[in-house]
């Protein structure tokens, strides 16, 4: 954008940004920041921290949609803030920014991700390999059905947007959640994973796939366009097949 155009955009005035301050108990604070052309929600939060509230806690790392650190609730919707343009989400120049839902709040916009990753482990999400450094890397055929089934899921950036979007996670503390189950789905399709059966059993166990209501909020909100719903359906199919046809 040329300087002139940039200046014109800057004349757009100010954004009114309500930001959650505190932990579980807290309140919204309102900040006025300049509206610019091409600014992301993360840019706005950073601007508030730099110029208005140096003690504002929030989390980010890469700023380009790879690391999955900066997810927050923006105007009531869970989003990756670094790739969310203000122009797309602001309503009449107003933004409300809160921490993600369904996770304990540490301070301001930062929430505790530990329960999220604990559920990964509970779903059997830990890779168990059998190869040593003396072995050649496994030759996985990219065209094999299993590899193709895991193609999408392995792109998950662990941002917890789906976890925050899921209503079942909100009302059922035991439910493992879409991210953990999608992780399990990629693992049971990984031919190098030795604990395949254990992962499948845990993903179908208490709080697992059977608790999913197939509401699809996870896939509607996933910033990288993945479908945990599809992975959960895949786990159910695989589990049924394992039960009736024996483990394959």
């Amino acid at each position: 954008m040329s300087d002139a155009a940039s200046d014109a955009a800057n004349k757009g005035g100010e954004l009114t940004v309500r930001v959650w301050r505190g932990a579980e108990v807290g309140a919204f604070a309102t900040y006025l920041v300049p509206a610019r052309a091409n600014q992301t929600v993360l840019d706005v939060v950073t601007e508030i921290q730099r110029y208005h509230a140096p003690d504002l806690a929030y989390r980010f790392a890469c700023r380009v949609g790879v690391c999955g650190s900066c997810a927050m609730t923006v105007n009531g919707v869970p989003r990756w803030t670094c790739r969310t343009h203000v122009s797309r989400v602001a309503k009449a120049g107003a933004l409300t920014v809160e921490p993600l839902r369904n996770l304990p709040r540490i301070r301001d916009l930062a929430c505790d991700m530990a329960p999220f990753f604990d559920k990964w482990k509970a779903a059997g999400g830990r890779f168990e390999g059998g190869a040593t450094r003396a072995d050649l890397p496994a030759a996985v055929d990219p065209a094999s059905p299993k590899r193709r089934a895991a193609d999408a899921g392995i792109e998950c950036i662990n941002c917890a947007v789906c976890h925050a979007a899921c209503d079942v996670v909100a009302w059922d503390a035991e439910y493992l959640g879409p991210a953990a189950l999608l992780r399990a789905w990629t693992l049971v399709n990984d031919e190098r994973h030795l604990a395949r059966r254990a992962t499948l059993d845990r993903a179908m166990g208490p709080g697992g796939c059977a608790s999913c209501h197939t509401q699809g909020s996870c896939m509607a909100h996933c910033p990288v366009g993945l479908s945990p719903t599809e992975g959960i359906a895949g786990l159910k199919r695989m589990s049924l097949a394992a039960m009736f046809l024996g483990d394959r």
Binding site: D201, P206, A210, S211, K236, S239
Partner: protein, 109 residues
């Protein structure tokens, strides 16, 4: 594994319920031939092995299917302990089975 078995049982019984419910609803429409009396129904059903098997199967399938769903609802929406929910669901299933089979016997016996 109980969760998986219950999940599978719920799906399989749903599969069986689909035609059973359709036949049952169709029957309700067809059975009414210019008014309906208890005597008229009983004259057609009593001693019928076919209807006994049809509704006997219906009751058994419902007694498996419904408590699994009720168990899920109770687990998600009440603060009851897991064990209590399981017993409640089992009791509900046995109740459905008992009441249902008794009704089938009353109609075809």
């Amino acid at each position: 594994m109980m969760e998986r078995r219950l999940f599978v049982l719920q799906r399989l019984t749903a599969l069986a319920l689909a035609p059973l419910v359709l036949v049952h609803l169709g029957l309700v429409l067809v059975a009414v031939r210019g008014g309906l009396t208890a005597a008229e129904i009983l004259s057609r059903t009593q001693g019928s092995v076919g209807w006994a098997l049809f509704y006997g199967l219906f009751v058994v399938v419902v007694a498996i299917h419904a408590p699994i769903g009720v168990r899920n609802v109770l687990r998600e929406w009440t603060g009851l302990a897991r064990g209590a929910v399981d017993w409640l669901a089992l009791g509900f299933g046995l109740l459905l089975l008992g009441v249902g089979l008794r009704a089938v016997w009353a109609v075809v016996g």
